[in-house]
Symmetry: C2
Subunit: 254 residues, 2 copies
């Protein structure tokens, strides 16, 4: 992890850009932290520049809770090389949507599965790099979309203690099977009237998760209209699971 | 409203039993309140004596938030006269469940609709009586089941400003139509693996509610296993909507 720039967001947060190999990313740490803090991985649909305002707002909230936050660019997004398979699947998706045709499993598989296959090892490398920093101690949380990436990470990466998953993207059938192997506490956000999202698929995925503690928090307001109180509830979930002394804290990552 | 007894629950809550005509009820008020407080109506499936421990626990939480809480016995429950129609419907329900047969709309209608018809005017009379007390000022919240009673009340009683509805009971088809006329903010609790409850029916009812602000909070743990954090989220909902200065407070009841 090579830091490439640093600046302060107000008095509360230090923001550092970094590269992890050839993958760009951003780390936000609470300016006031006197001890190593847990960290939340901020998931997103790709395109750090476009997503930056919302990611920075989420990171500010995490810092106010005493958590660091970090994210990396997704494969095929931002300045990273495009994937021919994903671009073709995206074109097929646009054609299907424009024609009012159903989005086939084949399109979803080609769009999402290679992305998950490539992204998850990168996010695991991010966890390695974060936990090597003196200012980060774990436990590690994951928050956001792409829900198929969050699901795979929750199964593959034992250092992730709890996850807030945003159910707002296409989910390959294979991911429903992976969901059964998730055991960590989950807080799943669903925007009930998200026109671009398949609500029944999201409910099926919530049902499939193997976790004993899982909460579905569904609200009105469209894809980007997650209400403030839903953000507060997600923050309370991380308080319980990531904070030393939180009701469900499992201890620092070893 | 005739008070029949009074006692303290610890230092924090004053509990008073009352009768409203021939309907028994309980009022809990925060012992420390120096000004009139909002009040939450505590819904339940009937049988105050059996429900008392859980109702008193909910009332203690409401008092800790600065809210009074009140409940009355349902028609046909506790010491109140049984309804022949409801008893027959309940026997038919038991037979259907024992035989593994579907619970028909006819059974649900006979079980629930006469109960809603009789209960709702009584709860509205309770609102009249509560708001006449010097220690209660409104706004008024409703919290709990029977969800068909809560739905009808939310439409019929304009002094109810916000409701936490527990989706855990049979819902007549007619109530889905009433749900479209609900406009107050709703926080709907669903126990995802509640074996005696029809999950799809609960999701359909949530979808039907006309409210612009509605949250579905679904958790694991069976019918009576609502987790502490879900209670906390419901309390935060009432903080926003019933407390002076809360984010969505509409002002006291006139």
């Amino acid at each position: 992890m090579q830091f490439t720039s640093e600046r302060s967001l107000g008095d509360a947060v230090v923001e550092r850009a970094f590269t992890l190999g050839d993958v760009p990313g951003i780390l936000w740490t609470p300016a006031s932290a006197s001890a190593p803090t847990p960290v939340i991985l901020l998931g997103h649909p790709g395109g750090l520049d476009k997503m930056y305002p919302r990611l920075a707002a989420r990171a500010r909230h995490s810092a106010a809770q005493g958590f660091a936050a970090a994210t990396i660019e997704l494969p095929g997004s931002g300045d990273r090389p495009r994937s021919a398979v994903a671009e073709e699947a995206r074109a097929d998706l646009r054609r299907a949507l424009a024609a009012g045709e159903p989005v086939t499993d084949d399109i979803v598989d080609r769009l999402v599965l290679p992305l998950v296959d490539r992204a998850v090892p990168e996010w695991r490398t991010l966890v390695d790099a974060l936990l090597a920093l003196p200012e980060i101690d774990g436990p590690v949380g994951y928050s956001g979309g792409v829900i198929s990436i969050g699901t795979r990470l929750a199964v593959a990466e034992p250092r992730i203690a709890a996850a807030v998953l945003f159910a707002g993207s296409f989910v390959p059938r294979a991911v429903y099977e992976e969901a059964r192997d998730v055991t960590i506490p989950l807080h799943v956000l669903l925007q009930w009237d998200d026109k671009g999202n398949d609500r029944q698929a999201a409910l099926d995925l919530f049902d499939a998760f193997g976790s004993k503690e899982k909460t579905l928090n569904a609200n009105m307001g469209g894809h980007t209209g997650v209400p403030q109180h839903a953000g507060d509830a997600a923050a309370a979930f991380f308080d319980r699971h990531l904070k030393p002394g939180g009701a469900s804290w499992r201890g620092p990552v070893e």
